[in-house]
């Protein structure tokens, strides 16, 4: 029986497949939304506007956080527990910062009469809000996971042999980063 477990360990962990499948399904959801955006844009009554500059700042923030989580993975591999903890928490903080910046971006849009709903709304604005809000929800999930993994890293029971949690969270975090870059470029150039 124990040999079963050993051979199991050598393979890619099932949760890794789980995550990749899940990322595939998230990709399809955003592919659906951005395709709908293109279809809708080609029809009448579409409002053109520029994205707030603050989204550029948040893009830089999330790109930097991708770098820091990669450093955390590297430090984990080197078994450098202190620096691993450091990079992990910095990533979590950058994640929170990203959320704050996005919310400021939304406020900026509303101040310029771009609204999600209501009489002054246009589906161009509604789309922008729905797509970015859904992305933000996925980031929020990532931040919660990051905080959880960080807390585990600081706890006395931290296991520096089990690399699964840091692997999973770093994959996911890179994903929401790339997803945002895609959405930003898409909304900027297509929208």
């Amino acid at each position: 029986m124990s040999t079963d477990i050993l051979t199991e360990k050598k393979k890619i962990h099932p949760y890794q497949f789980y995550l990749w499948g899940g990322l595939g399904s998230i990709v399809m959801m955003f592919a659906g939304l951005t395709s709908a955006y293109i279809v809708k844009k080609s029809q009448a009554n579409w409002l053109d506007f520029d994205l707030p500059n603050i989204f550029l700042v948040s893009t830089v923030v999330i790109l930097v956080s991708s770098f820091t989580i990669q450093m955390a993975v590297k430090k984990f591999k080197e078994q450098n527990e202190n620096q691993y903890r450091g990079f992990l928490s910095v990533t979590a903080i950058l994640g929170v910062l990203f959320i704050i910046l996005q919310i400021q971006g939304f406020q900026h849009l509303q101040a310029n009469n771009i609204a999600l709903t209501g009489a002054r709304s246009n589906s161009a604005g509604s789309f922008l809000f729905v797509i970015t809000l859904l992305h933000l929800l996925h980031v929020l999930g990532g931040v919660i996971a990051l905080i959880w993994v960080s807390l585990k890293a600081f706890s006395a029971k931290n296991n520096m042999n089990n690399d699964l949690p840091v692997k999973l969270i770093s994959n996911y975090w890179h994903f929401v980063d790339i997803l945002w870059v895609y959405l930003f470029v898409f909304l900027h150039w297509v929208g």
Binding site: P14, S25, M28, M29, G32, Q43, L116, T117, S126, V130
Partner: protein
């Protein structure tokens, strides 16, 4: 419980042959919140059966209206109350019944009931795994489905009735609360139920994919997998990639319904009053998003049936499946094409004719892999030593229905013909035969074939034969005439055809269809009696491998516990279709390849 934990749990069982550790399982953890894939499969099956009965009953009720539009049945009022005032189903109730019948049969019976049951039951058993990659999330998958069921059921009992705008939930009926009685809270509950359902199928699908890719036993290479597993794998991939698109469509729908955006709504007037303060939406947009799921969904329903039919046919013909790699390639081709044909549901929406012709071409291409599959099933039967078990009969019935319904698909796939046939009874006949009844036959075939593994007892054969012959005759008698009605222009979803001069000629035919529908429904009750009676009182299975099959599930004990194999998981040495090879009737996958053995 992680899979390692399952291994440990099993280890303790393995050391104790008398099963003294069984008392760790309480009633709640064994039958209700079970993490054993076999129990979860049974939960999916029985919940699916409950929905099949309810959905079938709904069809009997609306067929009653179509067959006897002028008659009054006082007993209906006593059951349905205000929905059948004066003993006649009201138009609102009729639409609610049609909508709910479609929704539950497509999603709850033929998706959750079919994949949920057989993916859960067969994947670990046939690939040689103790359980799913994540038994816990597998359990969650069932309970999300259960929650979806409860919410959908509760929508039947709200004041304004359940959603009644058709199972495709097109706006404006789905997006505007004032559009119809069913568009109010009934639709809110419909959306919640569907969202829970999507979560359930994602959790399930991810589990199936991870398990198949990662937890095969030693020697079980991908090309040694039974075709059932391949079919369930492609089904899971289709689900994981297409349901999120439906979800994105639903999210926009929720915003339109509840928060005043206008993704789908534009210039709507209800009773002469403008219903919206904003404008500029496009109802067609929803159709794109819906059918991007909707078409793969057809194959999510069909592929598991195809896989099981391949397996059952090979076992009961005592012959290897004809063209294993061609079967696999055609499954793959169908899975790819499934994503590229959605607009053939939208030929009459004002689609650009050039785009339409692209979708015609891609749609007709599906005929190629489908024909390969049919050819291979028939050549598997050819000169086989066929055992006509009820499971085998249902498998052959599946092929018959798949051919009959597939041929009319070639008609409907042509944009020019579709202008005439769209939204007519021809469409109803087509999709019921090729997708609805055919998959139902696949499901029945699976239940009859794997019942001995599920419950350690046999189903009654005589009842099985009656069930099969009445159902297949009934299926053709119900749906074949609908082709003619559709060709004559009879539109679907109408409440009463007797007021049209041109459709009056079909009054008797409609009455005939309704009568057959009731008989077929009654025979399904016979199946239910057989099923539940046999669980407790059926003839006991006395041998490990009652069908003399090669696949791994028949190497487990007659009533396998959690963990499936009491000792080591068996090693696999060959593909699963060595029937009649070198004069030997069957060679299980666990048998090592002999020195002088020819390769298959």
């Amino acid at each position: 419980m992680s899979h390692e934990a399952v291994l440990h749990a099993h280890e303790s069982h393995g050391h104790d042959d008398h099963g003294h550790h069984e008392h760790h399982d309480t009633f709640l953890t064994k039958y209700v919140f079970s993490q054993d894939h076999k129990m979860i499969a049974k939960q999916f099956l029985i919940t699916g059966m409950v929905w099949a009965v309810l959905g079938g009953l709904m069809s009997v009720l609306f067929r009653l209206q179509l067959g006897y539009p002028d008659a009054s049945f006082p007993w209906l009022e006593s059951i349905l109350g205000k929905w059948a005032k004066g003993g006649q189903i009201t138009p609102e109730a009729y639409y609610a019944l049609v909508t709910t019948h479609g929704t539950v049969l497509v999603f709850f019976v033929l998706t959750a009931g079919l994949s949920g049951t057989f993916a859960n039951f067969l994947i670990p058993l046939q690939i040689g795994a103790r359980d799913m990659a994540s038994p816990f999330m597998n359990m969650l998958s069932y309970w999300f489905f259960f929650a979806a069921s409860i919410v959908m059921l509760s929508s039947m009992f709200v004041e304004t009735g359940p959603f009644s705008g058709g199972w495709t939930a097109y706006p404006p009926l789905s997006a505007l609360g004032d559009a119809s009685p069913g568009s109010k809270s009934g639709m809110d509950l419909w959306i919640i139920a569907m969202a829970l359902f999507v979560v359930s199928s994602l959790l399930g699908g991810l589990n199936y994919i991870a398990t198949i890719l990662n937890m095969r036993t030693k020697g079980m290479s991908m090309t040694r997998l039974p075709l059932t597993i391949w079919a369930l794998f492609f089904t899971a991939v289709l689900g994981v990639l297409s349901f999120p698109v439906l979800l994105s469509g639903m999210i926009l729908l929720i915003f339109d319904r509840n928060f005043g955006t206008s993704f789908y709504l534009s210039d709507i007037y209800v009773n002469g009053v403008g219903a919206l303060s904003n404008e500029g939406g496009s109802a067609i947009l929803f159709q794109h998003l819906f059918w991007f799921l909707g078409h793969p969904e057809v194959y999510i329903i069909l592929l598991p049936a195809m896989g099981m039919v391949s397996e059952i046919m090979s076992v009961n013909s005592r012959k290897p499946i004809f063209g294993y790699m061609a079967m696999l390639g055609s499954l793959f081709a169908i899975a790819i094409l499934a994503f590229l044909v959605w607009a053939h549901h939208m030929f009459v929406t004002g689609l650009n004719p050039f785009l339409g012709s692209v979708f015609v071409l891609l749609t007709l291409l599906i005929a190629v892999p489908s024909a390969i599959k049919v050819f291979n099933w028939l050549t598997t039967l050819w000169r086989g030593n066929i055992r006509f078990t009820p499971g085998m009969l249902f498998a052959i019935g599946f092929v018959s229905l798949f051919i009959s319904g597939g041929l009319t698909g070639i008609w409907l796939g042509n944009a020019a013909l579709d202008i005439h046939l769209h939204d007519s009874y021809f469409v109803i006949a087509h999709f019921h035969i090729v997708m609805g009844v055919a998959s139902m036959f696949g499901m029945f075939a699976g239940v009859y074939h794997w019942f001995p593994k599920m419950y350690g007892r046999y189903l009654n054969n005589s009842l099985g034969y009656i069930h099969f012959w009445v159902t297949i005759a009934g299926a053709y008698l119900i749906f074949w005439p609908m082709h003619y009605e559709g060709l004559a222009g009879m539109p679907r979803r109408y409440y009463d055809f007797s007021i049209w001069e041109s459709f009056k000629q079909f009054a008797e035919l409609n009455r005939f269809i309704s009568t057959v529908a009731m008989i077929v429904f009654a025979v399904q009750i016979l199946f239910l009696i057989n099923f539940f009676y046999s669980i407790f009182k059926g003839r006991k299975v006395t041998t490990q491998n009652p069908w003399q099959a090669n696949t791994l599930e028949w190497t487990t004990p007659i009533n396998p516990g959690h963990g499936n194999w009491p000792g080591e998981i068996p090693e696999v040495h060959r593909w699963p279709y060595d029937y009649g090879k070198d004069g030997i009737d069957f060679i299980p996958q666990t048998t090592p390849v002999g020195e002088n053995e020819s390769s298959h």
